[in-house]
Symmetry: C2
Subunit: 138 residues, 2 copies
Amino acid sequence: MKLEAQWITGFVDGEGCFHVGISRHPEMNLGFQVLPEFTVVQHQRDVQLLHALKAHFQCGVVRVNHGDRMAFRVRGLKNLQERIVPFFVKHPLKSKKRVDFERFRRVLLMMERGDHLTENGLEKIRSIAGEMNRGQPR
Amino acid sequence: MKLEAQWITGFVDGEGCFHVGISRHPEMNLGFQVLPEFTVVQHQRDVQLLHALKAHFQCGVVRVNHGDRMAFRVRGLKNLQERIVPFFVKHPLKSKKRVDFERFRRVLLMMERGDHLTENGLEKIRSIAGEMNRGQPR
């Protein structure tokens, strides 16, 4: 299945999520790991759409999310910076999710500079992450 | 805000709903009213998208759905047949929602012929409606 760029933007405006997780990770210097991820979740009946997204972006995985729901998930700074971000810069989201996307982008830029490895940078990222995904009804 | 056709299809693949309600209505001959409707529900923060859909389709209303959620809703055989159906025939949905759309279309055609005013027709519509929106996770 071939996906048009505007279809992808519309679908992600509805179903996509830009998220920055911060979790304890004893092996990291500061004891925390910053994990940005882009996900689209669908009922398993529409898993072919998730595979089409994966084929389009040429990265990420399609896995069980929970129960009968599947997720297309992209992690990793390189994939996110080189494949996900440029797409949504070129084809901007129309919903308020765009604001989360801009925060997500800021966090990725900070991580590229290694800010997440300093206490100040980590605090800043934590504050940006805290502003994201607040209004998500799901 | 101007919406591209493919964006609309992608967004409706995620957020749209084709529904046929059948409710008791003592003033109708058979005692039941058939109410087909197309809806898109969003958190109120993105109500501007619902207004943009309304402007695009040149029909329907934007109203409170429940709580902080708003709905763009199109009812009425004429609006549905002349404005909604042709759009999704020209720009087909990519998700399994397409199957519901095809059932929805069948019901509209039956209603045009007045089938919903006969007992047999109403039973048939009830059976098609029963097959729709089963898998909706929400």
